[in-house]
């Protein structure tokens, strides 16, 4: 019972970090309809910015976190500006964007390899990881609880932004029809920059937590493949779908690791992907192809 509850919490905690990554990825997908593989790079940028901010500015997680979020948001918007916008303005074919994003993911990863090297780094111990006894039945770590709380805060913030703000409304409109949103007076390039900024900020939060969980290295971004799977399981382009998909994935991984074998966790993850694609390719909350009038 204790172990089960513990793995449950671990799973939700891991799932909530996936959710931060998957939601940003899915947000970009919902507007531009391509899979942004450079999203993993954003995670790495977030992790390293936080690492260096902490090292050089006296281990203050508020300062380090803030700088990491800001820098990653800007880097994400910049990635779009440099690599995707020139393509977007010339063609509607999404495949070029997909290829450009693969390229950007390699560029970002190797920028880190070349400049600061490929070795593993641990974030200074600014995020508590001490064990916490929960309701007298199980033990978990403060880190797991914290990552859940932070994920909930950021996802709620995103939800408020999307549902209540003027730009949020424009983003929802653009998610059903970008071109028409532009015809209604929405500055489409600005909207896309905002979307990338938001996706970058969320990726940075995920990146900081992943760097604590797994240490920091230039290939850390590869973990986004899990977030991609989560987004597909939940339904590409659907934000609630990305959250639910991430939680399912996190739980599946941790329960497999806890009760079957740690070696099998990735197998389970990709089986989930295959099953989703076979049974319901649009995912749990995915948009069915819209009727054309």
């Amino acid at each position: 019972m204790g172990t089960f509850a513990q793995q449950l919490i671990n799973g939700i905690s891991l799932g909530s970090v996936y959710a931060l990554i998957a939601v940003g990825y899915s947000l970009v997908y919902s507007i531009l309809l391509f899979s942004n593989f450079a999203h993993g790079g954003f995670i790495v940028i977030g992790g390293y910015t936080c690492y260096y901010a902490l090292r050089s500015m006296g281990n203050n997680i508020w300062v380090g976190g803030f700088l990491a979020l800001l820098a990653t948001g800007i880097a994400a918007a910049l990635t779009e500006r440099i690599a995707y916008r020139p393509i977007r303005e010339r063609t509607d074919i999404k495949l070029y964007l997909l290829i450009a994003s693969l390229g950007m993911s390699i560029v970002i990863e190797n920028l880190f390899v070349v400049t600061i090297g490929g070795r593993f780094r641990a974030l200074p111990p600014v995020i508590p990881t001490n064990p916490v006894r929960l309701f007298g039945i199980t033990t978990t770590s403060a880190f797991d609880l914290l990552s859940m709380v932070v994920a909930v805060i950021f996802l709620t913030g995103l939800q408020l932004f999307i549902k209540k703000s003027k730009w949020g409304l424009a983003i929802r409109a653009a998610a059903c029809d970008l071109r028409t949103a532009g015809l209604m007076g929405v500055n489409v390039n600005m909207l896309i920059s905002i979307v990338f900024f938001v996706a970058g900020v969320l990726a940075a939060v995920g990146g900081i937590f992943l760097s604590v969980r797994y240490t920091l290295y230039p290939q850390l971004g590869a973990i986004t493949i899990k977030a991609f799977v989560a987004a597909v399981v939940g339904g590409l382009g659907s934000l609630p779908g990305a959250v639910v998909g991430s939680l399912i994935l996190g739980l599946a991984e941790m329960l497999t690791a806890g009760f079957i074998s740690s070696q099998l966790r990735d197998l389970v993850v990709f089986s989930l992907l295959v099953i989703t694609l076979l049974v319901k390719p649009t995912g749990l909350f995915g948009k069915e192809p819209l009727e054309k009038v």
């Binding site: 929802r172 029809d177 028409t180 015809l183 209604m184 489409v188």
Partner: protein
């Protein structure tokens, strides 16, 4: 009309899609307060014309003047200067509610109180939209969606409203209803440019008309004259019986 300067002036406009020329040097003047219709068969370049005014299609040659000044080339700036388009096929935001759709139309506006006034106005024009204001746009019928699409484009408080085939796929009774509303919108001071395949009704509604064929204006004049012009009759009105 008048000898005043046109509010919207299109001069020698050339637009191509790759190697294919869609507009071969179109010129057109629209005066304040008018309803102008553009008729012509499929592929005549009518939609391209509207889209190039909106900055949604790049212009190869020629120019578009709004109140005598060159018009901006990006859609959101065109909307900001006072022109909006009711796109072909309605293009409403299906998952968004009716009132959210309307608020997207008002995206650029900062004058909150007047936005509320305009919202009330479009709800009076189209009472069915008010009844359905919290319903997702996708649940509306075709006619209601067209009403929503027109109302949404009015929410930017345009001085010139462009409409791309608003009658497409609608029952005759609904077309009449929508054209009646267009007359009311025009009475309120909104200049209207109507692109239609439904030539007879468009000519009956409008003051002046242009007939387009394969990217050129072939006939133009007061709508009444076009209605009785034998060339127009033969090509566009011939098969219709009244």
């Amino acid at each position: 009309m008048t000898t005043l300067e046109p509010i919207l002036s299109i001069r020698e406009l050339v637009v191509s899609y790759g190697a294919i020329k869609a507009l071969h040097g179109i010129s057109m003047d629209v005066y304040e307060g008018e309803i102008v219709c553009v008729i012509g068969a499929n592929g005549a370049g009518k939609s391209t014309l509207l889209n190039s005014v909106m900055g949604a299609v790049p212009i190869e040659m020629g120019e578009i003047l709004f109140e005598g000044k060159p018009l901006a080339k990006r859609s959101h700036k065109v909307v900001a200067s006072g022109i909006s388009l009711v796109p072909e096929g309605r293009k409403i935001f299906g998952p968004l509610t009716v009132s959210e759709n309307l608020m997207v139309g008002a995206f650029l506006r900062k004058d909150k109180e007047q936005v509320q006034e305009d919202l009330e106005w479009v709800y009076t024009l189209f009472p069915r939209l008010k009844e359905r204001k919290d319903q997702p746009g996708a649940t509306l019928s075709g006619g209601e969606q067209q009403m929503l699409s027109i109302a949404r484009s009015l929410m930017s408080r345009p001085r010139v409203l462009l409409l791309d085939e608003p009658s497409l796929g609608l029952a005759p009774i609904l077309i009449k209803e929508i054209f009646d509303e267009l007359k009311l919108i025009n009475k309120r001071g909104v200049t209207i440019v109507l692109v239609e395949q439904n030539a007879r009704q468009a000519l009956m509604l409008s003051h002046r008309g242009y007939v387009m064929q394969t990217g050129r204006v072939i006939i133009q004049g007061p709508s009444m004259e076009l209605l009785s012009d034998p060339r127009v009759k033969m090509a566009y009105l011939g098969k219709l019986k009244t």
